[in-house]
Symmetry: C2
Subunit: 245 residues, 2 copies
Protein backbone atom coordinates (compact mmCIF):
# COMPACT_ATOMS: atom_id res chain seq x y z
CA UNK A 1 0.00 0.00 0.00
CA UNK A 2 1.12 3.54 -0.51
CA UNK A 3 2.01 5.26 2.71
CA UNK A 4 -0.17 8.20 3.59
CA UNK A 5 1.31 11.37 5.03
CA UNK A 6 0.51 11.81 8.71
CA UNK A 7 -1.23 15.08 8.05
CA UNK A 8 -3.55 13.28 5.65
CA UNK A 9 -4.17 10.32 7.93
CA UNK A 10 -7.82 9.42 7.48
CA UNK A 11 -8.17 8.76 11.19
CA UNK A 12 -7.70 12.45 11.90
CA UNK A 13 -11.02 13.26 10.34
CA UNK A 14 -12.81 11.42 13.14
CA UNK A 15 -14.01 13.64 15.93
CA UNK A 16 -12.53 11.13 18.33
CA UNK A 17 -9.15 12.72 17.74
CA UNK A 18 -8.07 16.22 18.60
CA UNK A 19 -6.43 18.38 15.95
CA UNK A 20 -2.70 18.97 15.93
CA UNK A 21 -0.61 21.85 14.67
CA UNK A 22 1.32 21.53 11.41
CA UNK A 23 4.55 21.51 13.41
CA UNK A 24 3.32 18.64 15.51
CA UNK A 25 2.23 16.70 12.47
CA UNK A 26 5.57 17.32 10.83
CA UNK A 27 7.35 16.04 13.92
CA UNK A 28 5.29 12.89 13.99
CA UNK A 29 5.94 12.43 10.30
CA UNK A 30 9.68 12.82 10.81
CA UNK A 31 9.75 10.17 13.50
CA UNK A 32 7.82 7.67 11.46
CA UNK A 33 9.93 4.81 10.19
CA UNK A 34 7.43 2.96 8.07
CA UNK A 35 4.25 0.98 8.02
CA UNK A 36 3.57 -2.69 8.49
CA UNK A 37 0.68 -5.04 8.09
CA UNK A 38 0.02 -7.76 10.60
CA UNK A 39 -2.56 -10.41 9.94
CA UNK A 40 -5.22 -11.51 12.36
CA UNK A 41 -3.80 -13.79 15.02
CA UNK A 42 -0.21 -12.79 14.40
CA UNK A 43 1.99 -11.41 17.13
CA UNK A 44 2.99 -7.76 16.96
CA UNK A 45 5.16 -7.78 20.06
CA UNK A 46 6.23 -10.92 21.87
CA UNK A 47 5.83 -11.27 25.59
CA UNK A 48 9.19 -10.55 27.15
CA UNK A 49 10.62 -8.89 24.04
CA UNK A 50 13.00 -6.12 25.01
CA UNK A 51 13.77 -4.37 21.73
CA UNK A 52 10.27 -3.61 20.58
CA UNK A 53 9.57 -0.52 18.54
CA UNK A 54 6.74 1.90 18.96
CA UNK A 55 3.60 1.64 16.91
CA UNK A 56 0.40 3.40 16.23
CA UNK A 57 -2.41 1.13 15.23
CA UNK A 58 -4.32 2.74 12.41
CA UNK A 59 -6.41 -0.07 10.99
CA UNK A 60 -7.80 -3.21 12.62
CA UNK A 61 -7.97 -4.34 16.21
CA UNK A 62 -5.35 -5.85 18.50
CA UNK A 63 -4.95 -6.67 22.17
CA UNK A 64 -2.35 -6.64 24.93
CA UNK A 65 -2.05 -9.76 27.04
CA UNK A 66 -0.04 -11.61 29.66
CA UNK A 67 0.27 -15.32 30.22
CA UNK A 68 1.19 -17.56 33.11
CA UNK A 69 3.72 -20.29 32.58
CA UNK A 70 1.04 -22.96 32.26
CA UNK A 71 -0.66 -21.08 29.46
CA UNK A 72 -3.46 -19.27 31.23
CA UNK A 73 -3.90 -16.01 29.37
CA UNK A 74 -5.24 -12.66 30.48
CA UNK A 75 -6.12 -10.01 27.93
CA UNK A 76 -5.28 -6.62 29.45
CA UNK A 77 -7.09 -4.41 26.98
CA UNK A 78 -8.13 -4.13 23.40
CA UNK A 79 -6.42 -1.78 20.98
CA UNK A 80 -8.38 0.07 18.33
CA UNK A 81 -7.27 2.42 15.58
CA UNK A 82 -5.50 5.40 17.08
CA UNK A 83 -4.04 3.48 19.99
CA UNK A 84 -0.37 3.88 20.67
CA UNK A 85 1.63 0.73 21.41
CA UNK A 86 4.79 0.27 23.34
CA UNK A 87 5.11 3.09 25.85
CA UNK A 88 5.42 0.56 28.65
CA UNK A 89 8.61 -0.96 27.52
CA UNK A 90 10.82 2.07 27.13
CA UNK A 91 13.82 2.57 29.32
CA UNK A 92 15.59 -0.70 28.64
CA UNK A 93 12.91 -2.66 30.40
CA UNK A 94 11.69 -5.88 28.92
CA UNK A 95 8.10 -5.64 27.90
CA UNK A 96 6.09 -7.74 30.25
CA UNK A 97 3.15 -8.25 27.97
CA UNK A 98 2.56 -9.29 24.41
CA UNK A 99 0.52 -7.64 21.69
CA UNK A 100 -1.38 -9.63 19.12
CA UNK A 101 -3.51 -8.67 16.14
CA UNK A 102 -7.18 -9.48 16.51
CA UNK A 103 -8.12 -8.69 12.95
CA UNK A 104 -5.88 -7.79 10.04
CA UNK A 105 -4.06 -4.66 11.14
CA UNK A 106 -1.91 -1.90 9.77
CA UNK A 107 0.50 -0.03 11.96
CA UNK A 108 2.77 2.98 11.73
CA UNK A 109 6.22 2.23 13.07
CA UNK A 110 8.32 4.65 15.11
CA UNK A 111 11.84 4.36 16.36
CA UNK A 112 12.28 3.80 20.04
CA UNK A 113 13.73 7.27 20.46
CA UNK A 114 10.50 8.79 19.28
CA UNK A 115 9.20 8.94 22.82
CA UNK A 116 12.00 11.14 23.96
CA UNK A 117 12.04 13.17 20.76
CA UNK A 118 8.39 13.95 21.17
CA UNK A 119 8.91 15.18 24.68
CA UNK A 120 11.95 17.22 23.81
CA UNK A 121 10.83 18.87 20.60
CA UNK A 122 7.18 19.32 21.42
CA UNK A 123 6.37 19.42 25.11
CA UNK A 124 2.71 19.61 24.20
CA UNK A 125 3.06 16.26 22.51
CA UNK A 126 4.86 14.93 25.54
CA UNK A 127 1.95 16.07 27.62
CA UNK A 128 -0.33 14.25 25.23
CA UNK A 129 1.67 11.11 25.70
CA UNK A 130 1.30 11.27 29.45
CA UNK A 131 -2.40 11.86 29.01
CA UNK A 132 -2.69 8.97 26.56
CA UNK A 133 -0.88 6.65 28.91
CA UNK A 134 -3.04 7.69 31.83
CA UNK A 135 -6.08 7.18 29.65
CA UNK A 136 -5.07 3.67 28.79
CA UNK A 137 -4.48 2.95 32.43
CA UNK A 138 -7.98 3.96 33.31
CA UNK A 139 -9.23 1.42 30.79
CA UNK A 140 -7.29 -1.26 32.61
CA UNK A 141 -8.59 0.09 35.92
CA UNK A 142 -12.11 -0.46 34.66
CA UNK A 143 -11.27 -4.00 33.65
CA UNK A 144 -9.81 -4.72 37.03
CA UNK A 145 -13.01 -3.55 38.67
CA UNK A 146 -14.98 -5.84 36.41
CA UNK A 147 -12.85 -8.90 36.83
CA UNK A 148 -12.45 -8.37 40.56
CA UNK A 149 -15.95 -7.44 41.58
CA UNK A 150 -18.52 -8.09 38.86
CA UNK A 151 -20.14 -11.46 38.18
CA UNK A 152 -20.08 -13.02 34.73
CA UNK A 153 -23.24 -11.38 33.50
CA UNK A 154 -22.16 -7.95 34.66
CA UNK A 155 -18.67 -8.32 33.22
CA UNK A 156 -19.92 -9.25 29.80
CA UNK A 157 -22.48 -6.47 29.75
CA UNK A 158 -19.80 -3.96 30.73
CA UNK A 159 -17.39 -5.18 28.08
CA UNK A 160 -19.99 -5.11 25.35
CA UNK A 161 -20.95 -1.55 26.17
CA UNK A 162 -17.40 -0.28 26.27
CA UNK A 163 -16.36 -1.99 23.07
CA UNK A 164 -19.52 -0.98 21.30
CA UNK A 165 -18.82 2.65 22.04
CA UNK A 166 -15.21 2.45 21.04
CA UNK A 167 -16.06 0.64 17.84
CA UNK A 168 -18.88 3.04 17.05
CA UNK A 169 -16.54 6.00 17.47
CA UNK A 170 -14.72 4.79 14.37
CA UNK A 171 -17.88 4.96 12.29
CA UNK A 172 -19.54 7.88 10.52
CA UNK A 173 -22.96 6.85 11.75
CA UNK A 174 -23.40 5.91 15.40
CA UNK A 175 -23.45 2.18 14.89
CA UNK A 176 -27.15 1.82 14.10
CA UNK A 177 -26.47 -1.07 11.80
CA UNK A 178 -24.11 -2.79 14.22
CA UNK A 179 -20.42 -2.15 14.80
CA UNK A 180 -17.38 -4.22 13.88
CA UNK A 181 -16.65 -6.72 16.61
CA UNK A 182 -13.81 -9.08 15.73
CA UNK A 183 -13.56 -10.92 19.07
CA UNK A 184 -14.14 -14.62 19.47
CA UNK A 185 -15.74 -15.87 22.66
CA UNK A 186 -12.30 -17.04 23.71
CA UNK A 187 -11.08 -13.45 23.62
CA UNK A 188 -14.00 -12.31 25.70
CA UNK A 189 -13.32 -15.08 28.20
CA UNK A 190 -9.63 -14.19 28.42
CA UNK A 191 -10.39 -10.53 28.88
CA UNK A 192 -12.90 -11.14 31.64
CA UNK A 193 -11.22 -13.93 33.55
CA UNK A 194 -13.93 -16.44 32.68
CA UNK A 195 -13.90 -19.88 31.12
CA UNK A 196 -14.89 -20.23 27.52
CA UNK A 197 -17.91 -22.35 28.34
CA UNK A 198 -19.28 -20.03 30.96
CA UNK A 199 -18.71 -17.07 28.68
CA UNK A 200 -20.76 -18.74 26.00
CA UNK A 201 -23.62 -19.56 28.33
CA UNK A 202 -23.75 -16.07 29.77
CA UNK A 203 -23.51 -14.46 26.36
CA UNK A 204 -26.42 -16.57 25.14
CA UNK A 205 -28.45 -15.69 28.19
CA UNK A 206 -28.04 -11.97 27.54
CA UNK A 207 -28.74 -12.42 23.86
CA UNK A 208 -31.88 -14.48 24.49
CA UNK A 209 -33.00 -11.76 26.85
CA UNK A 210 -32.74 -9.35 23.93
CA UNK A 211 -29.95 -7.13 25.23
CA UNK A 212 -27.59 -7.53 22.31
CA UNK A 213 -26.87 -9.57 19.23
CA UNK A 214 -23.63 -10.70 17.66
CA UNK A 215 -23.50 -11.93 14.11
CA UNK A 216 -20.84 -12.13 11.46
CA UNK A 217 -18.34 -10.00 13.29
CA UNK A 218 -20.91 -7.31 14.01
CA UNK A 219 -22.23 -6.33 17.41
CA UNK A 220 -25.74 -4.96 17.69
CA UNK A 221 -26.89 -3.09 20.76
CA UNK A 222 -30.51 -4.04 21.14
CA UNK A 223 -31.17 -2.70 24.62
CA UNK A 224 -28.35 -0.46 25.73
CA UNK A 225 -30.23 0.74 28.78
CA UNK A 226 -30.71 -2.77 30.06
CA UNK A 227 -27.11 -3.65 29.35
CA UNK A 228 -25.91 -0.59 31.23
CA UNK A 229 -28.17 -1.48 34.12
CA UNK A 230 -26.89 -5.01 34.43
CA UNK A 231 -23.31 -3.78 34.14
CA UNK A 232 -23.84 -1.08 36.77
CA UNK A 233 -22.22 1.30 34.30
CA UNK A 234 -23.14 4.93 34.51
CA UNK A 235 -21.33 5.80 31.32
CA UNK A 236 -22.07 9.00 29.44
CA UNK A 237 -22.02 9.08 25.67
CA UNK A 238 -18.93 9.44 23.60
CA UNK A 239 -15.40 8.76 24.66
CA UNK A 240 -13.25 11.81 25.37
CA UNK A 241 -11.44 13.25 22.35
CA UNK A 242 -7.81 12.25 22.41
CA UNK A 243 -4.51 12.98 20.75
CA UNK A 244 -3.35 10.79 17.91
CA UNK A 245 0.39 10.29 17.81
Amino acid sequence: MTPVACKDCPLRTLELFIPHTPEQLALIQSLKRGQINVQAGQTIIHEGQSDALLYTLWAGWAFRFKTLSDGRRQILNFLLPGDFIGVQQKMSEALSHGVQALSDTQLCVFSRDALWDLHRSQPAMGFNLTWLTAQEQSVVDDSLLSVGRRNAEERIAALLIVLFKRSAAMLPDAGEGGVPFPLTQQHIADALGLSLVHTNKTLRKLERRGLHHIENGLLFMKDGKALARTADLYGDGKPAPRPLI
Copy 2:
Protein backbone atom coordinates in the same frame (compact mmCIF):
# COMPACT_ATOMS: atom_id res chain seq x y z
CA MET B 1 5.88 19.74 60.90
CA THR B 2 8.44 21.88 59.18
CA PRO B 3 8.43 21.49 55.45
CA VAL B 4 11.60 20.06 53.97
CA ALA B 5 13.08 21.44 50.77
CA CYS B 6 12.62 19.08 47.84
CA LYS B 7 16.34 18.85 47.30
CA ASP B 8 16.70 17.64 50.87
CA CYS B 9 13.81 15.21 50.70
CA PRO B 10 14.88 12.16 52.68
CA LEU B 11 13.30 9.87 50.11
CA ARG B 12 15.90 10.90 47.57
CA THR B 13 18.62 9.14 49.48
CA LEU B 14 17.03 5.78 48.69
CA GLU B 15 18.52 4.02 45.73
CA LEU B 16 15.01 3.39 44.56
CA PHE B 17 14.93 6.92 43.17
CA ILE B 18 17.07 8.33 40.41
CA PRO B 19 18.96 11.58 40.96
CA HIS B 20 17.71 14.83 39.48
CA THR B 21 19.53 17.97 38.41
CA PRO B 22 19.43 21.07 40.60
CA GLU B 23 17.26 22.75 37.96
CA GLN B 24 14.77 19.93 38.06
CA LEU B 25 14.67 20.00 41.83
CA ALA B 26 14.15 23.74 41.78
CA LEU B 27 11.28 23.35 39.36
CA ILE B 28 9.60 20.74 41.50
CA GLN B 29 10.10 22.97 44.50
CA SER B 30 8.53 25.91 42.71
CA LEU B 31 5.45 23.92 41.82
CA LYS B 32 4.92 22.66 45.32
CA ARG B 33 2.00 24.26 47.09
CA GLY B 34 2.31 22.72 50.52
CA GLN B 35 2.14 19.58 52.54
CA ILE B 36 -0.73 17.80 54.18
CA ASN B 37 -1.20 14.97 56.60
CA VAL B 38 -3.95 12.44 56.11
CA GLN B 39 -4.75 9.92 58.79
CA ALA B 40 -5.19 6.22 58.21
CA GLY B 41 -8.58 5.45 56.73
CA GLN B 42 -9.23 9.00 55.60
CA THR B 43 -9.97 9.86 52.00
CA ILE B 44 -7.36 11.77 50.02
CA ILE B 45 -9.37 12.05 46.82
CA HIS B 46 -13.04 11.19 46.56
CA GLU B 47 -14.34 8.92 43.85
CA GLY B 48 -15.79 11.14 41.15
CA GLN B 49 -14.10 14.29 42.40
CA SER B 50 -13.20 16.54 39.49
CA ASP B 51 -11.07 19.26 41.01
CA ALA B 52 -8.45 17.15 42.73
CA LEU B 53 -4.92 18.43 43.08
CA LEU B 54 -1.75 16.51 42.44
CA TYR B 55 0.14 14.85 45.24
CA THR B 56 3.30 13.02 45.92
CA LEU B 57 3.04 10.57 48.76
CA TRP B 58 6.14 10.83 50.86
CA ALA B 59 5.24 9.02 54.06
CA GLY B 60 2.79 6.22 54.73
CA TRP B 61 0.77 3.99 52.43
CA ALA B 62 -2.43 4.63 50.49
CA PHE B 63 -4.46 2.93 47.78
CA ARG B 64 -6.51 3.74 44.72
CA PHE B 65 -9.92 2.10 44.45
CA LYS B 66 -13.21 1.98 42.59
CA THR B 67 -16.61 0.95 43.86
CA LEU B 68 -19.81 -0.30 42.32
CA SER B 69 -23.08 1.32 43.27
CA ASP B 70 -23.94 -1.45 45.69
CA GLY B 71 -20.72 -0.97 47.60
CA ARG B 72 -18.49 -3.67 46.19
CA ARG B 73 -14.98 -2.24 46.24
CA GLN B 74 -11.95 -2.99 44.12
CA ILE B 75 -8.54 -1.78 45.14
CA LEU B 76 -6.62 -0.91 41.97
CA ASN B 77 -3.16 -0.58 43.47
CA PHE B 78 -1.28 0.38 46.56
CA LEU B 79 0.65 3.63 46.81
CA LEU B 80 3.92 3.81 48.67
CA PRO B 81 6.25 6.71 49.40
CA GLY B 82 7.42 8.26 46.15
CA ASP B 83 4.22 7.52 44.27
CA PHE B 84 2.63 10.33 42.35
CA ILE B 85 -1.13 10.76 42.68
CA GLY B 86 -3.60 12.31 40.32
CA VAL B 87 -2.21 12.09 36.79
CA GLN B 88 -5.34 10.30 35.66
CA GLN B 89 -7.73 13.10 36.30
CA LYS B 90 -6.11 15.95 34.43
CA MET B 91 -7.79 17.48 31.46
CA SER B 92 -11.10 18.35 33.07
CA GLU B 93 -12.04 14.74 33.44
CA ALA B 94 -13.68 13.58 36.60
CA LEU B 95 -11.48 11.20 38.48
CA SER B 96 -13.04 7.81 38.26
CA HIS B 97 -11.36 6.37 41.28
CA GLY B 98 -10.80 7.34 44.88
CA VAL B 99 -7.64 7.44 46.91
CA GLN B 100 -7.57 6.59 50.59
CA ALA B 101 -4.85 6.55 53.21
CA LEU B 102 -3.94 3.11 54.48
CA SER B 103 -1.70 4.30 57.27
CA ASP B 104 -1.06 7.83 58.47
CA THR B 105 0.33 9.64 55.46
CA GLN B 106 2.05 12.84 54.51
CA LEU B 107 1.79 14.28 51.06
CA CYS B 108 3.30 17.08 49.04
CA VAL B 109 0.66 19.07 47.21
CA PHE B 110 1.04 20.45 43.70
CA SER B 111 -1.24 22.68 41.69
CA ARG B 112 -3.09 21.08 38.87
CA ASP B 113 -1.03 22.99 36.35
CA ALA B 114 2.10 21.32 37.59
CA LEU B 115 1.70 18.53 35.07
CA TRP B 116 1.86 20.90 32.16
CA ASP B 117 4.53 23.06 33.74
CA LEU B 118 6.74 20.04 34.18
CA HIS B 119 6.38 19.09 30.57
CA ARG B 120 6.95 22.61 29.30
CA SER B 121 9.86 23.69 31.45
CA GLN B 122 11.67 20.41 31.73
CA PRO B 123 10.95 17.94 28.95
CA ALA B 124 13.09 15.42 30.75
CA MET B 125 10.69 15.61 33.67
CA GLY B 126 7.79 15.26 31.31
CA PHE B 127 9.41 12.16 29.99
CA ASN B 128 9.73 10.94 33.54
CA LEU B 129 6.05 11.52 34.08
CA THR B 130 5.16 9.41 31.08
CA TRP B 131 7.48 6.73 32.31
CA LEU B 132 6.03 6.88 35.81
CA THR B 133 2.51 6.61 34.47
CA ALA B 134 3.43 3.66 32.29
CA GLN B 135 5.13 2.10 35.28
CA GLU B 136 2.02 2.38 37.39
CA GLN B 137 -0.01 0.88 34.61
CA SER B 138 2.17 -2.16 34.51
CA VAL B 139 1.45 -2.66 38.21
CA VAL B 140 -2.25 -2.68 37.43
CA ASP B 141 -1.59 -5.01 34.50
CA ASP B 142 -0.03 -7.45 36.92
CA SER B 143 -3.03 -7.23 39.21
CA LEU B 144 -5.38 -7.87 36.36
CA LEU B 145 -3.47 -11.00 35.47
CA SER B 146 -3.72 -12.15 39.08
CA VAL B 147 -7.38 -11.41 39.54
CA GLY B 148 -8.33 -12.77 36.15
CA ARG B 149 -6.28 -15.92 35.98
CA ARG B 150 -4.76 -16.90 39.31
CA ASN B 151 -6.58 -18.81 42.03
CA ALA B 152 -6.81 -17.49 45.58
CA GLU B 153 -3.59 -19.06 46.77
CA GLU B 154 -1.62 -17.80 43.79
CA ARG B 155 -3.06 -14.32 44.05
CA ILE B 156 -2.15 -13.92 47.67
CA ALA B 157 1.34 -15.26 47.14
CA ALA B 158 1.88 -12.84 44.27
CA LEU B 159 0.60 -9.88 46.25
CA LEU B 160 2.75 -10.68 49.25
CA ILE B 161 5.86 -10.91 47.14
CA VAL B 162 5.25 -7.68 45.31
CA LEU B 163 4.39 -5.70 48.40
CA PHE B 164 7.25 -7.17 50.35
CA LYS B 165 9.69 -5.98 47.72
CA ARG B 166 8.19 -2.54 47.49
CA SER B 167 8.11 -2.16 51.24
CA ALA B 168 11.66 -3.45 51.60
CA ALA B 169 12.89 -0.92 49.05
CA MET B 170 12.05 1.79 51.59
CA LEU B 171 14.31 0.25 54.18
CA PRO B 172 18.05 0.53 54.71
CA ASP B 173 18.39 -3.19 55.32
CA ALA B 174 16.65 -5.59 52.98
CA GLY B 175 13.74 -6.41 55.24
CA GLU B 176 15.40 -9.17 57.20
CA GLY B 177 13.42 -8.29 60.27
CA GLY B 178 10.17 -7.98 58.42
CA VAL B 179 8.81 -5.04 56.46
CA PRO B 180 5.97 -2.62 57.26
CA PHE B 181 2.68 -4.03 56.05
CA PRO B 182 -0.30 -1.88 57.02
CA LEU B 183 -2.99 -3.83 55.16
CA THR B 184 -5.91 -5.52 56.83
CA GLN B 185 -7.25 -8.73 55.37
CA GLN B 186 -10.14 -6.73 54.00
CA HIS B 187 -7.70 -4.70 51.93
CA ILE B 188 -6.09 -7.83 50.60
CA ALA B 189 -9.49 -9.23 49.73
CA ASP B 190 -10.53 -6.06 47.93
CA ALA B 191 -7.28 -5.91 46.00
CA LEU B 192 -7.54 -9.51 44.86
CA GLY B 193 -11.23 -9.80 44.15
CA LEU B 194 -11.77 -12.30 46.95
CA SER B 195 -14.13 -12.45 49.90
CA LEU B 196 -12.81 -11.60 53.32
CA VAL B 197 -13.44 -15.08 54.65
CA HIS B 198 -11.73 -16.86 51.84
CA THR B 199 -8.81 -14.48 52.04
CA ASN B 200 -8.40 -15.32 55.68
CA LYS B 201 -8.50 -19.04 55.11
CA THR B 202 -6.03 -18.91 52.27
CA LEU B 203 -3.71 -16.63 54.16
CA ARG B 204 -3.72 -18.99 57.11
CA LYS B 205 -3.04 -21.93 54.86
CA LEU B 206 0.06 -20.28 53.42
CA GLU B 207 1.19 -19.16 56.83
CA ARG B 208 0.74 -22.62 58.34
CA ARG B 209 2.74 -23.98 55.47
CA GLY B 210 5.55 -21.69 56.55
CA LEU B 211 5.68 -19.42 53.52
CA HIS B 212 5.23 -16.14 55.31
CA HIS B 213 4.20 -14.59 58.58
CA ILE B 214 2.28 -11.43 59.39
CA GLU B 215 2.35 -9.91 62.83
CA ASN B 216 1.82 -6.48 64.23
CA GLY B 217 1.84 -4.71 60.91
CA LEU B 218 5.00 -6.46 59.82
CA LEU B 219 5.34 -8.94 56.99
CA PHE B 220 7.99 -11.64 57.21
CA MET B 221 9.08 -13.58 54.16
CA LYS B 222 9.84 -17.03 55.47
CA ASP B 223 10.12 -18.92 52.21
CA GLY B 224 10.31 -16.53 49.31
CA LYS B 225 11.18 -19.27 46.86
CA ALA B 226 8.08 -21.24 47.71
CA LEU B 227 5.93 -18.14 47.56
CA ALA B 228 7.30 -17.23 44.15
CA ARG B 229 6.67 -20.78 42.99
CA THR B 230 3.06 -20.82 44.05
CA ALA B 231 2.53 -17.37 42.54
CA ASP B 232 4.18 -18.37 39.26
CA LEU B 233 6.19 -15.17 39.57
CA TYR B 234 9.55 -15.01 37.90
CA GLY B 235 10.50 -11.73 39.47
CA ASP B 236 14.07 -10.56 39.69
CA GLY B 237 15.33 -8.64 42.66
CA LYS B 238 14.89 -4.95 43.16
CA PRO B 239 12.34 -2.72 41.52
CA ALA B 240 13.64 -0.48 38.75
CA PRO B 241 14.94 2.90 39.91
CA ARG B 242 12.42 5.60 39.20
CA PRO B 243 12.04 9.35 39.13
CA LEU B 244 10.60 11.12 42.15
CA ILE B 245 8.49 14.11 41.25
